[in-house]
């Protein structure tokens, strides 16, 4: 058999594909395009509803075609103190939470990516075990109460300071770094802290960016810890407020101090809900293109080595 070079074979294959667009290709493309529409349209519809005028929404004319452009729902929520408070809580939790996440995860993962120091195996085993066993809801709740974290913003930061799955992705990545780099730094008299800060972190930026974004999305999306631990409504994160708004619209409206304004204008509840929905999604939609570049690799490492 004639040996075929790698590039030649690839080009044969590529040429074969390009020249013949088979029925199979057609079916695949149709399915994938339909799936694309199914993914995009619900978001598109929500955005449209949040922008469309009261009349259009109430006459139920809004499916896919924009009618009258109206920003009153947005102007309402950005003048509403309860919404602004929730937004601030979420921004705080995302900012502080992500910083804590990265600090703990990167330092921990760096140490655990090294071999041969006493206690490493025990720590590693202890971490993996928590992926498969935990105390459950009630013990968790009572513990947080003992730590005085009820009605405390830190309850949305500390109990979720590390995500074990992301930690493992980090460890797996650090293991792939060449050992020579660190050794030469050590010979030059650097200690472990300096090696991490000056050498390992800078060359790991793509991975660090990915994990940062994963964490930021998680903190931004936090609602459950808010529902569970915030009896003070001023401390509810945005997603918890949105949840209340969706399931319990009338009550939330009644509790809102400036509800007079809602009755004045004839804002439709749907517009308002959709506007809050859009605002809660927007930052993720903006971050997403940056995140998207890296995550396939990250997931791969995590899923295989996990």
């Amino acid at each position: 058999m004639e040996p075929i070079t790698k590039t030649a074979a690839v080009s044969i294959q590529a040429a074969g594909r390009r020249s013949r667009f088979s029925p199979a290709d057609l079916i695949i493309h149709i399915v994938l395009i339909l799936l694309t529409l199914m993914t995009i349209l619900p978001f598109y519809n929500v955005i449209l509803m949040s922008f469309s005028s009261t009349v259009a929404v109430s006459k139920q004319l809004v499916y896919l075609v924009p009618t009258v452009f109206d920003l009153s729902a947005y102007s309402y929520i950005f003048h509403e103190p309860r919404f602004l408070k929730a937004l601030m809580v979420t921004v705080f939790v995302t900012g502080v939470g992500t910083a804590v996440n990265m600090l703990v995860t990167v330092t921990g993962a760096y140490v655990l990516s090294k071999s041969g120091f006493p206690g490493k195996k025990i720590v590693m085993g202890g971490i993996i075990f928590t992926m498969f066993f935990n105390g459950g809801l009630i013990p968790f709740y009572l513990t947080m109460k003992n730590f005085h974290l009820v009605n405390n913003l830190l309850v949305m930061v500390l109990p979720v300071a590390v995500n074990t799955f992301y930690m493992i992705i980090c460890i797996a990545f650090f293991r792939t770094l060449p050992a020579g780099l660190e050794e030469s730094a050590k010979i030059d008299g650097a200690n472990d802290l300096q090696v991490l800060y000056k050498i390992v972190v800078p060359i790991s930026m793509p991975m660090i960016a990915t994990i940062t974004l994963f964490y930021a999305v998680d903190r931004w999306n936090e609602w459950w810890l808010g529902v569970l631990f915030m009896q003070n409504v001023n401390l509810l994160p945005l997603q918890a407020l949105l949840r209340e708004l969706l399931t319990n619209y009338q009550q939330v409206l009644a509790s809102i101090t400036t509800s007079v304004r809602v009755q004045d204008s004839d804002l439709q509840p749907e517009m308002l809900k959709m506007a809050v929905l859009v605002v809660s999604t927007l930052p993720i939609a903006c971050l997403y293109p940056f995140l998207q570049k890296y995550f396939a690799k990250g997931v791969m490492i995590g899923s295989i080595k996990g």
């Binding site: 519809n45 139920q60 330092t107 105390g135 009630i138 109990p159 969706l246």
Partner: protein, 302 residues
Amino acid sequence: MGKTLGKDLYKHRYLYLLLLPTVLFYVMFQYVPMYGVLLAFKELHIREGILRSPWVGMDNFKELVAQSDFWRAFWNTLYISCGRLVFEFPIAIVLALMINEVAREKLKKFYQTVYTFPHFISWVIISGIMFNFLGTTGVLNQILDSLGYHKMTFLTDPSLFRAIVFISSIWKEVGWSAIIYLAAIAGINPELYEAAHVDGAGRWQKLLSVTWPSIRGTAAILLILAVGNAMNGGFDQIFNLYNPGVYSTGDIIDTYTYRSAFADGLSFGVSTAVGLFKAVLNFSLLYSANYIVKKLGGEGLV
């Protein structure tokens, strides 16, 4: 001996310093709550705390198994988890294989980007989008109405709830699951395809004899993990979608635990017993799945 250990500790002092926050986190927020499972065998007296509250043996478990709502939640959880395995698993693999067949790299990227987006959106937001679509005045009902059909109560109909759970979670997560397989496919040695090509294999045969065997291992690991989570059933999703009208088919162990402890006033001891029951079951499922996959010749998780 003691001296060398001390020396070792000193030598790695910076590493221990760096590891300290991680260890503190796992001890305080993962292991401290674990001692709380003792509560499953106690009756909580708030003043006394968990440790000094009196033991009640298996009483909490006895009370639990006498609850019909608990069994309803138990079977619902099993049904929903099995449904997820049956529907979501193959669909993710098929989607990955289809995306992989797209020849143009840019288009491939585009599809991946679109399909994975919903994964990053919270279930709160997704449920809001779904209310907008499926509610009594939602888009779908308006379309039904304008076509002259009766309006339907999609979200409060117990016979539709599980279907809605499956479809919405496929919609949200299938792209993300496919990414994992695509990453595995990207790691396949191109020479395998060349060899298959030289042997005269068509597209379909390449799929069966090269691509599939190469991602089988990934699928097995994901399957083990999914089985190990079978008693979880997707709290985030169900909690945001369900309502009293669909408890009969949609109430799962996690939502039952939450309600029983924080709304219906079941004792914390009994609720903890549910949690422990669930955790033990998950753990044994994980080990059984791992054992079976290994017996069948696959690569296990542990």
